[in-house]
Symmetry: C2
Subunit: 561 residues, 2 copies
């Protein structure tokens, strides 16, 4: 059996190595268009920023490793320029020699990845405008920044604006955009982030993204939301200008395009296999395309969303690796199946961490799903009495009908990865919010609390589903009677005009001040005391709801976009 | 309805607050023998060490909070000195006034905790010997250390050994013992740790504990295993000496007793309720004792081990809090049930973190369980190419018959809490190792790897269960043919006498050097290349097994105790 694997990074490399382990006799040819296989593309922004100083650190495994360790015929700078699925052959172009050869396959695995989107804007090909996909991309960016720095290093260098890498514009606020922002700030550039949509970090819901946006601004990033790039110009001094749809001009010594990625489907088109509606290669649970001898894995394929069951594009390294293994398993005659992608992801941004898993509210709304509720909570990352505790901002989505956990989004400066993985594992295993209440997670003062944030999320959600705590959200508050149970000094931080303040300890004695004919919305700082107050009110015959997340939710939940 | 709750920390405090939320009308009396309620006992070692400088930080909620916020009659320095379960009364002694009063209850909740074991050894009551349970305990230790320091602070202070807090002996190497060791070292004391058994950290298996032991020694702790304390003496200079069963004498300016804790059952005995075989109060799933009007929660009760189903004592804050909530639920007429305790726990030790969840090998062996396998793995805490990655040492236990995850133990300097919580959630939800393979956990270079250590554990275990990788362990290696597939320079680190070295890349060409009539055990540094080699050998008709964990396992797996 001869298997040709096209693409030697993530999914392709995993597939090749796994297949060799399962089948010592298979003839395996792995071809990669670029100069490197199995490189750490997730590390590229950090190489640009300098945290990963050596380029060689990014090369996880080399051609030589694949040849020697796995007995795989591994060829770099080798591109597939034709596929005949009828003859089961591929045409390979060796970019070093220029030779084109034809190779037969029994099984073909496509792992071409997804390409950075480069819209055909005026000036897009000007020098100084970069995408971040490959090791050479990162090298070119570093050289551009270093060359500039070198040119300016002498007092009498005659340095002009173009040679002074002072101002960067990053276009697009997704993962790569944010990672590049951080790394360029790390290199002391002034960074402007331009995002066409009304939020950064598309997998987040906008009100959670607004916390990220504030955090970026706090760290000196100039953020331009809801403004697309219209084109690029070279200024008279040789530097760049980024022109926006709104007519703004942002000067830049370097521009990073991080608008998003698009599945590479040229090979799939050559092979005549189906492309899905989202633009990715269509595969079944065994990573088989519509041609039974052709498999596809990684960022180029559409996957089923594990929570919603919808076809979607989720370019992530973990899923790509698992898909590669599954394709190898199936080719070797095993029954492995891909269970779908949850979209668990995490992103470092300065001292902060953004993470999410499962479905977002906007995805559920798009699908017309009304059987869900959301909560916001702001627990400490670990016991408040132990130094270094930081507030986590968490949004959790769950089914109203049965409590099934649907998704979680989180931002914080400590303990985010620990919690998002608990949520991720919980979603995988079909956890309900009642299970989260009971989760026995690790606690010692430096790491958590006796009631971990994950437990706390379960408790809040379960309180709602059990009817113990009717809930409402700031964005639907509209003239209801508002009771604020904080202590008077806390009102100075922020307060809601027209709210009645009765500190929680006085509430039982002052029930007479509250209306019996109106619904009372209760708030406090984080919604915890408001929960206690809601319980008092409900048991005394009032109609009451807790405003989810309390005052901590208010500023971002009602933030205009 | 009148409910009396005895014990105002963790379980008792949780029960009281929850009950108030569920029942605004109940009369709730919470009594606490000590001076404080709801204090952070898990923080006490860190208060001694000084990371938590202010004692007031430890007081999470005060009597006043319980009175004002929860309308609970909260009394400190108030001890139960008699219980009549026939009359449903308790006798309360007010330690401030000396008065004894009798109170009726409809429901009684016992949350007395567990007391530090103080064996009746000669000299145990000498000044300078402390336990660590309460805020006053921590205060006394701090005062002892500070007083000594103050006495020595003047050049002409006439300072004697006794007033120089230089040498500490900690007796007992469990959680509190290790936390005290760390905090005393943090205060620059020379610390000797004496442990009667053959390992520290009893929930760990001994070979994992041996990694902790090495770590302690590396950090300058004098470790004395398998030697119990025989008594204490005051030396002529006024300082202490700790005498051991083996006849050693350890000088000490302070001694911390952290031998373990024993459920407080005096109240239960007064009430005539059943005590289990492990010495804790026997309760049902609803935290009800053998008297239907008396509940018990927290460290004083026996719990069902979630994994093994056995009665056990697991004194942990998280479970205590949940049990308190459940007792409140049941008293308020709800159907909550306690699902048992997994024993998820975590402990900071210098820069390292020790954590575990679920069943250990020794517990399974004690129960005569033979349907399990174990693996050792040593993955990086995050992508190796990103700075700061540290090796994790992980042991995972799982069912041979169906792959059910049974337990995990871990030690490392980064990313431990993240992984142990994934394992903990996985065990709660009945995860198999196949589920772990597929887990979609958060990955970006600062946080993890595309194949997270948790995935990696699943893959290794699944490889065994699918028959792809027969396994063996160092402690059962006995003269078999050993093949080492590392590269020659690696052998300098450590090698096994008599092993044949064939570097993995040469293996396919040198199969002729291997015996076909003997089983071949394969090793490398971490068992990953050995896995590849095992696959090559098996597919070429050899009998081969991978030695779990490779050379990284060897030194501790075969460490004599």
């Amino acid at each position: 059996m001869k298997v040709i694997i096209v693409g030697g990074v993530a999914g392709g490399a995993s597939c090749a190595a796994r297949l060799r382990r399962l089948d010592e006799k298979a003839e395996i040819l792995m071809v990669e268009r670029g100069p490197y296989v199995s490189y750490a593309n997730c590390g590229l922004p950090y190489h640009v920023g300098g945290s990963i100083e050596k380029e060689s650190s990014l090369l996880v495994a080399t051609e030589q490793t694949f040849r020697d360790q796995f007995a795989i015929d591994c060829r770099t700078r080798c591109e597939v320029v034709g596929i005949s699925s009828k003859d089961k052959t591929v045409e390979l172009k060796n970019h070093t020699t220029g030779d084109v050869t034809t190779e037969h396959y029994d099984k073909l695995v496509l792992s071409p990845g997804a390409a950075p989107i480069r819209p055909p804007l005026p000036g897009i090909d000007l020098p100084g405008i970069f995408s971040v996909r490959t090791v050479p991309d990162a090298r070119n960016i570093r050289e551009w920044l270093d060359r500039c720095a070198a040119d300016c290093s002498g007092m009498n260098s005659g340095c002009q604006a173009v040679t002074n890498p002072r101002r960067a514009v990053v276009v697009g606020g997704g993962f790569i955009g944010l990672e590049m922002v951080e790394n360029l700030v790390h290199r002391r550039l002034e960074v402007t982030l331009i995002e066409k949509f009304n939020q950064v970090m598309p997998p987040l819901d906008p009100e959670m993204a607004s916390l990220v946006e504030r955090y970026l601004v706090k760290h000196g990033v100039q953020l331009e939301l809801k403004d697309g790039v219209a084109g690029f110009q070279q200024a008279v001094d040789g530097s760049l200008e980024v022109l926006t749809s709104a007519g703004k001009r942002h000067p830049a010594d370097i521009v990073i395009l991080a608008i998003g990625v698009r599945p590479e489907t040229a090979l799939a088109n050559m092979a005549g296999i189906e492309i899905g509606q989202r633009g990715g290669i269509r595969v079944d649970e065994q990573m088989r395309t519509t041609n039974p001898d052709i498999f596809a894995v990684g960022d180029a394929v559409e996957v089923k969303d594990f929570v919603t069951g919808q076809w979607t594009l989720i370019p992530l390294a973990g899923p790509a690796n698992r898909q590669g293994r599954i394709a190898a398993d199936v080719i070797a005659g095993r029954e492995s199946r891909y269970r779908g992608t949850q979209g668990t992801s995490i992103c470092q941004i300065f001292e902060g961490t953004i993470a999410q898993t499962g479905a977002s509210e906007k995805v559920l709304v798009q699908l017309g799903d009304k059987d869900f509720e959301k909560i916001y909570l702001y627990p400490n990352s670990h016991a408040g009495y132990y130094p270094g505790a930081k507030m986590l901002a968490i949004k959790v989505l769950f089914r109203k009908s049965d409590g099934l956990l649907l998704g979680a989004q989180m931002l914080g400066e400590d303990g985010v990865a620990k919690r998002i993985d608990s949520f991720a594992m919980a979603i995988q295993m079909g956890c309900t919010v009642y299970d989260l209440e009971e989760a026995e997670l690790s606690y010692a003062p430096p790491y958590g609390s006796a009631k971990d944030p994950v437990n706390f999320a379960g408790m809040v959600a379960a309180n709602i589903l059990r009817g113990d705590m009717p809930l409402c959200h700031w964005n639907s508050v509209d003239g209801e009677f508002l009771l604020d149970v904080r202590n008077p000094p806390e009102l100075a931080v922020e307060s809601v005009p027209g709210a009645l303040n009765i500190p929680l300890p006085q509430l039982r004695a002052r029930l007479g001040e509250l209306p019996r004919d109106r619904e009372i919305l209760v708030t406090c700082r984080s919604a915890q005391r408001a929960y206690y107050a809601t319980r008092i009110l409900l048991q005394n015959g009032f109609k009451a709801r807790n405003v989810s997340g309390g005052m901590l939710s208010r500023s971002h939940a009602v933030a205009p976009h």
